[in-house]
């Protein structure tokens, strides 16, 4: 899973900015989204992301998993274009 080559990610005080420099569109996430973005940037799989966030947050793993999948789908639907690793 990764961002498309033209998407630049930058951490900000209250989340992260995802700048699609090809379409010249700016997307923002909140702080929780930024944690998922960091995991994606680190090359974590959705499963590894869920495991990491479950360890950090006092939430059931299935809640975290649903949230991570929903967030990743949101990135895809916004054209920030994550691609699946094989």
């Amino acid at each position: 899973m990764k961002f498309t080559p033209n998407v630049k990610v930058r951490r900000e005080k209250r989340g992260s900015v995802l700048f699609d420099t090809l379409r010249e569109k700016v997307f923002v996430t909140n702080e929780t989204g930024a944690r998922i973005v960091e995991g994606i940037e680190a090359g974590l799989s959705p499963e590894a992301l869920v495991a990491q966030l479950s360890a950090e947050y006092d939430q059931p793993a299935e809640v975290i998993e649903a949230e991570v999948r929903r967030f990743i789908e949101s990135l895809r639907s916004n054209g920030i274009a994550l691609t699946e690793e094989t």
Binding site: E12, K13, T21, V26, V28, T29, N30, R35, Q59, F71
Partner: protein
Amino acid sequence: MLDPAMSTVAENPIGIDDLESPLFIAWQITSLCNMRCHHCCEDSAHLMPNEMNRSRVLDLCRQIADMSIPYVAVSGGEPMLHPQFFDVCRFFRSQGIALKVETNGELVTEEATREMARLGLRSVQISVDGATAATHEQLRLKGRWQDAIDACRRLVAAGVRTEIVFVPTKFNIHETAAVIDLASSLGVYGIYTGKLMRIGRAAKNWQALCPSDAQYEEFFRVLRQKTHQYLGRMKVYYYPYDVIEELRVRVQSPSASLLVIPDGRVKLIGPLPFICGHLAKHSLREIWDRYRKAWRLPQVRDFVAQVLAEPSLVSRANDWIELY
């Protein structure tokens, strides 16, 4: 604890006060140009007094990288005339910074094309102002249409993402459709256009150049039709508003970008005359802070209000006024 059910991502023109640094730098690296276009919004031709030297140019590059600014556009004048042009390109790409080059294409030789391809630029934008040599060269004095077209062909063949920029005037607006078709035949990634800006040399030649309302109406009809025609094959991008409308929006929601002119001064935005900092005196980070404050200054807001009431005032955009 953060609530994971609150993770969101959304397209959002983020407020500049929420950003640690700009997202975009528009850098006019030199005022020197090998053309004398009637519609140039910079009045480019000769070197500006005190253009930044090599040391200052490279220092700016480092500051941009240090501030994690993700995207830079290098323009001019003709940027490829600048002696450090490729040094700048190489530095930005070595830092993973997305880079767009805006050029008239005259200096896009085979060798330059190979280097641009190797660097993986975000894009190279070539100015093509007519579907024929006669039209293009009527506007772009000393320019050769064939050179611009050849540059597009070379870049496309080398796999460089290539975009055409078309500026409508009374002299070429009738060729809008033909230019878009030409762009498609060249295999470029996209074509960009929008209304002529009343700045620089274009302001001086305004009466001769500015299309009529009827011409603009037809222009936008053609653009809508061509956007549909080339959907999924070539990007037809046009900004539907004029520079006055842009100012109306920007004064409420300034963009997270800085416009650096060749001597190192930094403008608030192209259509306004205000300078918010000077790289000879301030760091880029200091200038970013000054930029954010500048949009709230009564001097700026009052001037914008005057321009909105009397749009011809925008022609004073290059009569620079130092803020602070």
